[in-house]
């Protein structure tokens, strides 16, 4: 709720800035975007991700945490990419998104290896 309120206030400030200082608007847009993102992450997303292991502690808990964490990272990176593309730095955003995708593959390499070892242990 506070996040929505602060977002509304930020948008109001941004509209004012856009009217009086149009050349500085992308800069402040970036700052406000990161402020909002930090608030979202630290108030909502990270506590939720920390609660997950307590909610389910049976089989598959590790995979659930992996899926949730990687979806969250992917979302952060995709929104960052969109934001950078909006203010005209598309290539940098795509690069960072690529880096996050590679990192996700690296995180999942353990699972890949486990499945591959199950499959290869079947072979005579």
């Amino acid at each position: 709720m506070e996040i929505i309120l602060s977002a509304v206030i930020m948008v109001f400030l941004l509209v004012m800035l856009d009217t009086f200082l149009p050349r500085m608007a992308p800069f402040f847009l970036l700052i406000f975007f990161f402020l909002l993102l930090a608030q979202l992450a630290f108030r909502v997303a990270i506590p939720l991700l920390q609660e997950l292991p307590l909610a389910w502690d049976g089989p598959g808990a590790r995979q659930i945490r992996l899926i949730a964490g990687s979806a969250f990272l992917f979302y952060l990176s995709a929104s960052f990419r969109d934001m950078l593309g909006e203010i005209g730095y598309g290539p940098i955003g795509r690069l960072s998104h690529m880096a996050v995708q590679l990192m996700l593959v690296g995180v999942w390499l353990g699972e890949f290896r486990e499945t591959a070892s199950v499959l290869t242990s079947l072979l005579p």
Partner: protein
Amino acid sequence: MWELIAAVAGPPAKLFALIIVLSAAALAADFAVPQFREWTRLFLLVSAGAAAMGPAIDAVRMMDGLVGKMTGLFLGIYPVLAAGMAAAGGALSLINWNPAVFLFVQGAVVIGGKWMVPLLIVSFILDYLSRLVPEIPFTRISEMIRVTLLGAISVIIACYSLFITATGAMAWSSGSALAEPIKALLRQHVPLIGSFITDTMGVVGKYSSGMAPIAGSYLIVALLVTSLSPVAYVLLTAFLYKWIAALCEPFAHEDLAGFFDDIGKTLFVLCGIMLIVAFAIFYTAVLSIILIKVIAGAG
């Protein structure tokens, strides 16, 4: 019986819980981050794939162990058995014993172990890979492997019944009128291998009804239960996979349900191979009993 069912149903039940939980997580991730859909599918298949294969791999391992034991048993016992029966003399007239049957039974078990089980494993892996990467499908080749194996199994079982009726004086005498409806029911309602089950029942029944006066009917029943319990284990596992596929279809990913369905189909083929091995176990045990009876002078 209940111990068998519990032992068979335990791992698939755990697997089902795991699939429910993982599917719920994947659905939540899809809902929260729709751009992540492709990745979620991949990660779900990767993390569920290793767990999903567990009970099926156990069944394949059991099959492998049984075939190895049977090959050792054949190599060890059949020279002694053949020599003993030839020396005793009476056994030859008793069941019109034919050395070709020995060779055939051993050959069938060796073919089952060396060719059929690896082919089956290959079809497991191809199914999984074609679900994991839908752009490179191997569905037709794994279906082809299954159909080929079913053809080979049906030929071997037909040869079994041919041998028994040609060489033995075994009459399917007792309870045939009672068994026919059960056989018809099994043939229609067990997918893919129902007719094999009924054929093997007929072959084993022919043999056992001839053996019952010699070996005692309780012993024959015990032998039947012992040799057919691996078949029952694999059949139950296959049905449980089909059940999991049917139960998780509404909420799980489509590929996951299809993968379980494929595993079930493959396990039905494994059940057919198991029948060949079960027949070999039964045949060897009955021949040993006959030999002992002949040596003891009761034959």
